[in-house]
């Protein structure tokens, strides 16, 4: 299954604004995307509650995975979001 591993860049971590932006972007993808921290249990990336419960802070390494048509494009788009500071601006 295609995967992307990326380090959370946002200052507040995957919380507040960054979490909202990420979850909304994941919900727009045509393929379901999952996210996990390290070897943890993958959770749906379109669930704000699941994403918040990951407790991912700035510098945390997370892995995205997806399977199906458009998986690579979806993963690229979401990984790009996480590698930017979404608190800025």
């Amino acid at each position: 299954m295609p995967e992307r591993t990326v380090v959370i860049a946002s200052r507040t971590g995957l919380h507040a604004r960054p979490a909202k932006i990420f979850v909304e972007a994941a919900a727009r993808q045509t393929t379901p995307v999952r996210i996990r921290v390290g070897d943890g249990e993958p959770v749906p990336a379109n669930s704000i509650l699941a994403v918040l419960a990951l407790g991912a802070t700035q510098g945390t390494r997370v892995t995205l995975d997806a399977d199906g048509p458009g998986a690579d494009a979806a993963l690229d788009a979401l990984a790009d979001l996480l590698s930017r500071d979404l608190d800025a601006g």
Binding site: H15, S47, A53, T57
Partner: protein, 553 residues
């Protein structure tokens, strides 16, 4: 409805107004659970889904109307949570097991709430959002009106049992005339917000439970009175008079002084540079709370980030004068990065300067950042520590700050021991600033947030005034300034008493300054002293107010 009654509570934010009551629904009580027969479970799920959708839509609509960006973001995030597929899945699991819609929602929210609490730190703060969302969705599933701040489409007096931070974030200052709560105390969230926005407010008013929706009332936030049975013409006249009074006060300016010219510095309590944009005239900042920078953080903010935040405040200062208070946090106001052990009695535990005993690096970095910001802006900040208790602690803090070149070092007086030893503290320090909110809490042994003990937290308690007098007298003997930066300073009559006791500066939120300036200008120093003497001799707060009023006339 036309019956005239007077209800009494604690006036916590001055100003008068009148208008119709709108009540805020409190926590929804769940009916006894029922076991749904298998054939009806799909319909129950549909009902629950509908309730969550309605909640999400309501929150989105509220977000679109929110005036402040912070409030908008809170509401948008809540709307997203209400629409969460994971929450929906939990609800489906519960209805599948035979729960009715309302219980299925409540149980699903409780489940996810635990998951967030387990994530810890600032993720755990979102747990409160789930309470709010759950309450709304349960109401929708039961066919009850949606809880939260009402929106009747005309100005109203908001009456509630108590207000949560999320409620207050959504208050529209154009629509809400005044706040009246059954619970809460003078230092509760409601009181602080009302003063910051200049809204009249009465808290700890148990009689407010009897007020009906639509009933016209007059609110006096200085006296803490609510009058019922007010006619439309009378209400309009009260509002007009209040608007004229507000305009007049807003136009006032100039340094604080008594009628005979005795100067009393009128200063601002601020949390960040944004609080300096109110447009009210002041002579500087008497209390810069530095906590804002540390909230919501898993790791302590670095030196550079702190320097930038302090520079922003120093550059925007009125009068170039600022008193910076070092981090006031601890087990009562926990910060994730401090990682302090839990305590049974946090108000009496590791808080304020005491944090330095366990996590010494935090204060050192903060002092370094203050010094760097002072150097780059040319401002000479005064620096004080919260929760100083003994002369030895004062001396240690003075050494730490002095070694970095800070020349004006002081302490907050919040602990009775510090007030009783004020002279000894002033032998080590350049100034004192009395935090009346905490000093009340510790003097009368009454929790600041305890609604049933609000009378003990009344800043007119003669025992509290005696401790203030002790500090002010010590300041006069040493020739060093002693200010008051608690909310007591914002009470125009109490300000007269404080000045009479010998206090040299009063620091408060911006909208309170004009009324205090005006009150001082009406009294000579001799009259202030007479009012102070009368208040000190009083047996209780009510008598202290009465005798101060007649003493100062």
């Amino acid at each position: 409805m036309s019956e005239r009654r007077t209800l009494r509570g604690l006036g916590v934010s001055p100003g008068s107004t009148a208008g119709p009551v709108r009540r805020m629904a409190g926590l929804i009580r769940l009916p006894d659970p029922t076991v749904v027969p298998p054939d009806d479970r799909a319909a129950e799920l549909e009902k629950a889904e509908h309730a969550l959708r309605e909640t999400s839509d309501t929150l989105t609509a509220l977000a679109a109307k929110a005036a402040e960006p912070t409030a908008r973001e809170i509401l948008e995030a809540q709307s997203l949570i209400a629409a969460d597929p994971g929450l929906r899945d939990s609800v489906e699991e519960n209805t599948g097991a035979g729960m009715d819609a309302a219980h299925a929602i409540a149980a699903a929210c409780a489940h996810h709430r635990r998951a967030l609490l387990a994530a810890g730190g600032y993720f755990a703060e979102r747990a409160a959002d789930l309470d709010d969302i759950g309450n709304r969705a349960v109401a929708a599933a039961l066919g009850l009106p949606m809880p939260g701040v009402p929106d009747p489409g005309h100005p109203f007096v908001l009456v509630a049992e108590d207000l949560s931070p999320a409620d207050t974030a959504t208050l529209d200052p154009e629509a809400v005339l005044a706040l009246v709560t059954e619970k809460g105390g003078p230092t509760s969230h409601t009181a602080i917000l009302a003063r910051a926005r200049g809204l009249p407010a009465v808290v700890a008013c148990p009689g407010a439970a009897m007020l009906d929706d639509g009933e016209a009332v007059a609110v006096d936030g200085a006296l803490g009175e609510i009058r019922t049975g007010v006619g439309q013409d009378e209400a309009a006249a009260i509002r007009q008079r209040a608007a004229r009074e507000r305009d007049r006060l807003r136009a006032s300016g100039g340094p604080g002084r008594t009628a005979d010219g005795h100067p009393v510095k009128l200063l601002l309590n601020i949390g960040s540079a944004a609080d300096l944009e109110s447009g009210f005239s002041a002579e500087g900042v008497g209390l810069f709370r530095t906590e804002f920078l540390f909230l919501d953080r898993r790791e302590a903010p670095g030196l550079d980030e702190q320097i930038a935040a302090y520079e922003a405040v120093f550059r925007a200062l009125p009068g170039g004068r600022v008193i910076v208070r070092t981090l006031d946090a601890g087990t009562d106001k926990p910060l994730p990065f401090l990682n302090l052990p839990e305590e049974i009695n946090p108000a009496l535990g590791i808080r304020g300067l005491r944090v330095d005993r366990l996590r010494p690096g935090v204060l050192d970095t903060q002092l370094d950042a203050i010094v760097a910001a002072a150097r780059s802006t040319g401002v000479r900040p005064w620096v004080m520590a919260p929760m100083v208790t003994t002369a030895a602690e004062a001396a240690a803090f003075a050494r730490k700050a002095g070694a970095r070149g800070i020349t004006d070092v002081g302490a907050m007086v919040e602990v009775p021991a510090a007030a009783l030893q004020a002279s000894r503290l002033l032998a080590e320090l350049g100034f004192l600033s009395i935090g009346t909110n905490d000093l009340s809490q510790y003097t009368c042994a009454a929790d600041r947030q305890h609604g049933d003990l609000a009378d003990l937290l009344d800043p007119w308690q003669p025992a509290l005034l005696r401790l203030v007098a002790e500090c002010a007298a010590a300041g006069e003997r040493a020739g060093k300034p002693v200010g008051v930066c608690g909310e007591a300073a914002a009470d125009p009559l109490l300000a007269v008493v404080l000045v009479g006791l010998g206090v040299t500066s009063l620091s408060m939120s911006a909208p309170s300054i004009p009324a205090v300036r005006e009150s001082l200008a009406r009294h000579t120093l001799e009259e202030c002293r007479a009012a102070a003497g009368a208040a000190l001799e009083a047996g209780d707060p009510a008598e202290a107010r009465r005798s101060a009023r007649s003493g100062s006339d």
